[in-house]
Symmetry: C2
Subunit: 241 residues, 2 copies
């Protein structure tokens, strides 16, 4: 059975303007690879309701899972929850269990649960809450869409509660051979080897170090024996690392 597929939707003007360098895509990519879920596409869109709706509807129909980051805080530019509700065509209201979590949190902190903070309890109908051990305000899962915060510490904590609920596949195994030759030198032999292993994915990534061209040859697949066999042949062709 092929591995489940996934897409990520990063929401935020701060990423597109270059103010902030996104960290969540790299984190999610590593997690999903280890879990045997194939991250196939990522989109980054601005804080625009129409753009969020279009992207989430395109992605949720095409992939087994969609993970979103950003736009679920208390301020006026946090429009993700509303956009997701619209994308699914379901109502969104302040939900009692989410509100109770926030009430307890702000009571402990001696802060009022004002109107802005209550916005973080707005959850589309039919969604399951995602625990936020960092700052309480929950994310949510609606069907195959997992809606999480953009702050990396919170995104990571939310993914830690979401991931065990997903059915993964075979983890993607990756082995690398580093050769001190340019890509153009190794391309033919590497392509021939790749053609012998249609079930594996092989990529080459050039680097320069101290003015010398080199290439990292990477073999990826979910069958460890097959990856290792291909790597043994690759090492035979290009010499030990």
């Amino acid at each position: 059975m092929p591995n489940p597929t996934a897409a990520m939707l990063v929401i935020g003007d701060e990423i597109l303007s270059g103010r902030t360098r996104d960290a969540n895509m790299y984190h999610l990519a590593g997690l999903l690879t280890d879990a045997g879920i194939t991250l196939t596409e990522v989109r980054v869109v601005s804080d625009d309701t129409g753009a969020i709706i279009a992207a989430v509807n395109a992605l949720r129909g095409q992939y087994d899972h969609v993970f979103t980051s950003g736009g679920i805080g208390p301020t006026h530019d946090d429009i993700t929850a509303e956009a997701i509700a619209q994308a699914f065509g379901v109502p969104i209201t302040i939900r009692a269990d989410a509100r109770a979590l926030l009430q307890a949190h702000y009571d402990r902190a001696g802060l009022p649960l004002n109107e802005a903070r209550q916005r973080m309890a707005r959850i589309p109908d039919g969604a399951r809450l995602i625990d936020n051990p960092v700052s309480t305000a929950p994310g949510f899962t609606l069907q195959n869409v997992h809606v999480m915060a953009g702050v990396p510490a919170i995104f990571q904590a939310m993914m830690a509660s979401v991931l065990p609920t997903l059915t993964g596949g075979q983890p993607l195994i990756s082995q690398t051979l580093r050769v001190n030759r340019g890509e153009g030198d190794i391309a033919d032999a590497f392509a021939a080897l790749a053609a012998d292993y249609p079930d594996l994915s092989m990529g080459s990534y050039p680097f320069t170090q101290n003015g010398v061209y080199g290439t990292n040859l990477v073999i990826r697949g979910s069958d460890l024996a097959l990856v290792s066999a291909a790597m043994a042949r690759l090492t035979q062709v290009f010499g030990a690392p």
Copy 2:
């Protein structure tokens, strides 16, 4: 006149598998913001011809410029140039001027211009070459699509030659006020201010430092006087930084 719009297409299994953390999106976002070109969407797709064609055709029709990174090297997994040619429905052949650049480069290096390296001279009909001062193999511009390498040093060098050829708009100006209060505390007043300035974009980005919650309030726009006026009012409301 509104600023020109742009999208980026990142091509590469190594990003989606979490092997490599993308650096080009952040670099491009900063460059375009300074040039007054609005980066509106980013997509990341795998080394798959169909996925590249679908994304590039969706984006080039929707935005003034599309910038791609990755997949233009000499190895079998470098399929971007072919995919772009297919997306535009134009032939792709080894072009004499691109081949001559490579020939001179490899002659100097005492290396053969073998078949794999000649692949890097394959350019879709009608494209303009993009200079590569790092490793010679050129990128290309076909209509509004700028096709560049994924290696960050080369991507950056190519953007340095592409950017001066583009007509920019008003640079996006961004001013930030850091307040030592949580987002939920400032949300109402911040939203009210944002409503007074429909031509500006305002965002809030929470942080924690030494266990204290704080928020960076960011005002963005292309009219310096307007941004400064809004920032003066923001500072009045929330106190000096």
